[in-house]
């Protein structure tokens, strides 16, 4: 019995360790369309508009809504956006930035300010 328990515990430790290893920090790399989607989102966030998924899906003339939706899902997996359901209508989902995205754009802003000063 102890023998089985030992192996079961090792398996449990293995799964827990894998979970921890999978959350090791990485630099998320974006494909060109993901970058465009993120930029389009940032432009809308900057104007203070609550951005819905439907708004973003219809933004790009050269990419189908399903393609853009896949990119939204991958941006969510990379921790760059979150989705929030509307309180009154759960068919409407809002796309919101995460801390990682805010830091990213803040850094870009600082770099641009430094570049402008240097000029």
């Amino acid at each position: 019995m102890k023998n089985t328990n030992e192996m079961a515990c090792a398996a449990l430790r293995f799964l827990n360790l894998i979970t921890a290893i999978r959350t090791l920090p990485t630099i998320p790399s974006l494909d060109p369309l993901e970058e465009r989607v993120l930029m389009a989102l940032a432009q809308n966030w900057a104007t203070g508009i609550a951005v819905t998924v439907m708004m973003i899906l219809s933004t790009f003339n050269d990419a189908s809504p399903s393609t853009v939706h896949r990119r939204l899902k991958s941006l969510k997996q990379k921790g760059l956006i979150t989705m929030r359901e509307d309180e009154n209508d759960n068919r409407t989902k809002y796309v919101e930035p995460t801390d990682l995205t805010n830091n990213y754009f803040n850094e870009i802003g600082k770099c641009m300010a430094a570049a402008a000063k240097a000029l």
């Binding site: 019995m1 102890k2 023998n3 192996m7 090792a10 430790r13 360790l17 979970t19 921890a20 090791l24």
Partner: protein, 194 residues
């Protein structure tokens, strides 16, 4: 009836011993392969005998001892003694055996320390990336300090502090490399899954 019960207890003990021997042997083989890989890829980063700026087996040690506990530590100790004698201290078996013992004991002690101090569950239930990196750091420091003191006692090092620092950095960078390789492999396996 009594004889049957006794026999079953004996069988359980035999199974336990077999499992432990299997774990020890597997861990020893893994450590040996990582040591060969380290010599092959990172022999140019050698600082002094047995001290590298990058030490890949550090990652294998950490993962094996976190998963298998004492059996893992024993496997590491045996393999480390063999590697030390074969590649680093060919003329000095006592130093090699001591280094092997320290390799197993240091990470076992680091695990014990982290379980009590970082409020970690023995089955790693609450383990986070931060805790994992803390264990890696503590293990790197423990192992490096103990090895260097041993090497100094045996007259194999002139630079105790420098050797300790380089060995700790080597253990930590090796552990980080192994953890990120493991992460990459896990992500590939997850993506390949239908």
């Amino acid at each position: 009836m009594h004889g049957g019960c006794g026999e079953s207890i004996v069988m359980k003990h035999i199974k336990n011993i077999t499992t432990n021997l299997f774990t020890i042997t597997s861990v020893a083989i893994i450590f040996y392969l990582f040591s060969i890989a380290n010599i092959f890829f990172f022999s140019s980063t050698t600082f002094s005998t047995g001290v590298n700026w990058v030490y890949l087996p550090g990652g294998a040690i950490l993962v094996c001892v976190l998963l298998f506990g004492t059996s893992g530590a024993i496997g590491i100790a045996i393999a480390s003694a063999v590697v030390s004698h074969r590649f680093y201290f060919t003329e000095d078996i006592v130093t090699a055996c001591g280094a092997g013992f320290i390799s197993g004991f240091a990470v076992w002690a680091a695990r014990f320390f982290c379980l009590s101090r970082l409020n970690l569950d023995a089955n790693l239930r609450s383990i986070t990336v931060k805790a994992l990196l803390e264990i890696a750091l503590i293990f790197s420091l423990f192992s490096a300090a103990m090895h260097q003191v041993w090497f100094a006692l045996r007259g194999h090092t002139d630079n105790l502090l420098g050797g300790t620092a380089v060995m700790a950095i080597g253990n930590f960078t090796g552990t980080i490399i192994v953890l990120y390789i493991a992460k990459a492999v896990i992500e590939i396996v997850v993506r390949l899954k239908p």
